[in-house]
Assembly symmetry: C2
Homo-oligomer: 416 residues x 2
């Protein structure tokens, strides 16, 4: 089965918001073997929306539409879909009851625009919206499906997960698509490709297995994709390709199941029964924030110190003032003292630290913007490693947090 995703909204076309719905839907469809062939984004314009509906519904089996179902005047999807499927809106009592109970629960007065949200096309099937007011809709024509969902990401996600996917999974039996992603960090894309060498050896040239290189500031993901008749043969090909890649670049791979580095180090810390603390200057709390994005992180993460001022470095972490005066706040010596200080103050087994110049200003010729020291401390060893993460402040912080977590991973796994 093939799919197309249509996202509707002027806010997307003027670039005001980033389209995360497309990726979510595509990934989920893929998981049940439905390949998304195209994604189209159009504005709040009846003619263009109708054209997109027509083209998509002609060429694929499943069309997923999001956006334009809200309570405000710029939401026109429902009207257009009625014209497209030649039907009318009728009041749906079940939906209305749901909206009323939601309003009551949230202690919000019902207004006319809320009531109008309970109007749905006559011959559609309602997809319940458990967390919001706008219902989703499904039309089925022959073997084809047309789904319409709200543009609010978490409402859309809930509909995909609890309603649409279970339905589609049952219908799609013709082919199996399987992916495996190996996430690497600490090595550039070209160098990674060179170390891997001739991929055709393993993936073949029939186009049924592909290997993609996906670089981002956190590292490069390697994605193996296999399309096969059966789950068994797909699985076999995935395993063979993964073994080949591991034989070439094992130490750079931190995850093979879409886990982020914070999940991976969390698992390692839990397994080894170790606790962690952080001392951050240039990363400003991002390392702690990433660690605590993991549910259950309170088991191993004791806490962190965001020591932006030198005073806090000295008073909270016990960094000797003389070190700051002699070497500067951005130095190997201070990174090491911060890591030691965080570990001892928080009574943790391990501590990570980061001090650097995130920019875009504040660099000197000796210590340019982008310079960063990442420190590590445990009961046996303290050290710091020098990096340059470039002159974009946000990217600098991302890359520095990634390097700190990777340093911890390699240490915990006893990798060089």
């Amino acid at each position: 089965m093939t799919a197309e995703i249509i996202t509707i909204g002027d806010e997307l076309l003027i670039g005001q918001i980033i389209n995360t719905n497309q990726a979510y839907i595509a990934e989920k469809l893929n998981g049940v073997g439905i390949y998304c062939e195209r994604m189209t984004t159009v504005g709040d314009n009846a003619e263009v929306i109708t054209d997109a509906f027509t083209t998509a519904f002609n060429r694929v089996d499943v069309v997923c539409v999001t956006g334009g179902l809200g309570p405000t005047h710029d939401d026109i999807t429902k009207k257009i879909v009625c014209e497209f499927f030649k039907t009318d809106l009728v009041m749906n009592d079940e939906v209305l009851d749901h909206i009323k109970s939601l309003a009551q629960k949230r202690n919000i007065a019902m207004i006319q625009s809320n009531i109008d949200q309970a109007l749905v096309p006559k011959d559609s099937t309602v997809i319940p919206n458990h967390i919001g007011t706008a219902p989703g809709m499904m039309f089925k024509r022959g073997s084809k499906y047309f789904f319409i969902m709200p543009g609010v990401p978490y409402e859309m996600k809930e509909m995909i997960d609890s309603w649409i996917l279970p339905l589609l999974e049952k219908k799609n039996t013709e082919s199996v698509v399987r992916h495996k992603t190996l996430k690497t960090t600490g090595i550039g894309e070209s160098m990674l490709a060179q170390q891997i060498g001739n991929v055709a050896e393993v993936i073949g040239t029939d186009g049924m297995t592909t290997l993609a290189f996906l670089p981002n500031p956190m590292g490069t993901k390697l994605r193996i994709t296999v399309k096969e008749k059966s789950a068994e043969s797909a699985q076999e090909k995935i395993v063979r390709a993964e073994q080949f890649l591991r034989s070439k670049i094992e130490k750079y791979i931190y995850s093979d199941d879409e886990k982020d580095l914070e999940d991976v180090v969390g698992d390692l810390l839990k397994m080894k029964n170790l606790t962690l603390a952080t001392a951050e200057s240039c990363t400003g709390g991002l390392i702690a924030n990433r660690i605590t994005n993991v549910s259950g992180s309170s088991e191993y993460f004791l806490g962190g110190f965001v020591v932006y001022s030198n005073q806090l470095k000295i008073e909270e972490l016990g960094v000797p003032e003389k070190l700051i005066l002699d070497f500067g706040a951005v130095s190997k010596e201070v990174a090491e003292a911060m890591a030691d200080g965080a570990r001892l103050t928080a009574k943790a087994d391990i501590a990570l630290s980061a001090t650097g110049i995130a920019g875009p200003t504040g660099g000197t010729s000796e210590k340019p913007v982008g310079l960063c020291w990442i420190g590590y401390s445990d009961a046996e060893i303290t050290f710091a490693i020098k990096f340059n993460f470039g002159d974009n402040r946000i990217r600098f912080k991302e890359r520095a947090s990634q390097a700190a977590l990777e340093l911890l991973r390699r240490k915990l796994m006893k990798l060089s």
Copy 2:
């Protein structure tokens, strides 16, 4: 002038990465009065890419393509574009020199795939890539433009900003599109719409002015769009619409120029010459991370305490152990004590705190997942406010950080 954006990559179609390039390009084009009519995403498939090129180049004036220019085997855009424009690849010495110098600077050995990146279509104009190895390309046919850029976001952005936009800005003189966005927080979308009332009064019904409601976990953005013949009349209409909206919902508007809340409170703190510290439990460093995303934040942000363990709450922030025993770590009393403790320890003028249950586990009937206390402390007053941010961990943290910063903004602006 109209535009279409084509993003290429299997990684997009399987939803492995979120497409941020589209939004960036669309926003920039819009700023110079070029309206993006459609965005299309296709996979690494020659036939589909060619079809997308053909359709787009027929219906709009400017086509922007990203993706598939990397050094690895799955990057096929250059080959397809040569066929599309009936031309061949030739070695470009300037590009080759640039790649060589980049490799030298980064201390990386040149390999064949790097050298191949200097191959460009014969009758295209090279768009220099100052920060990466893959050059961009421009084709001009009549009054139409066709741009091809790498998929790596920061390389693409640099080409748009320093090369493509200056060129297009000179060419487009026929119409002016202006946007103004008012960012609100602390009020739901429906209630906001109701408080605003009849927008048609102000924006008219000719379709040349539009108002869009854009909800997200951080709040709701209101976007006014005006399409006019002259910059002056566009500006006038924008001002009128903004005045109308402000007369209805002033206190919820925290930004009118795309600034984030962390930028706004940063400006206020700088203006008032006040310093800030944070004490975070459930937000795990996100508040500090957002504050330090702002360049120059070291002027007013002294530091933060991520006190995940009770021990650190007690020892670092001086939260009385009795408070934790009597009221629990997630309580008004502890939120207030954390804020006081952070302020005194960091010697800051103001401190914010957050303690809550981010979930998805750990809730009780009395203190459910989603419960959060946000605390505030300055020399004159200490208080905490209760919220419920729902049961999605990441969204909980986002919403809690937003509520904390909004609380600070309202306090600094003396709003109720």
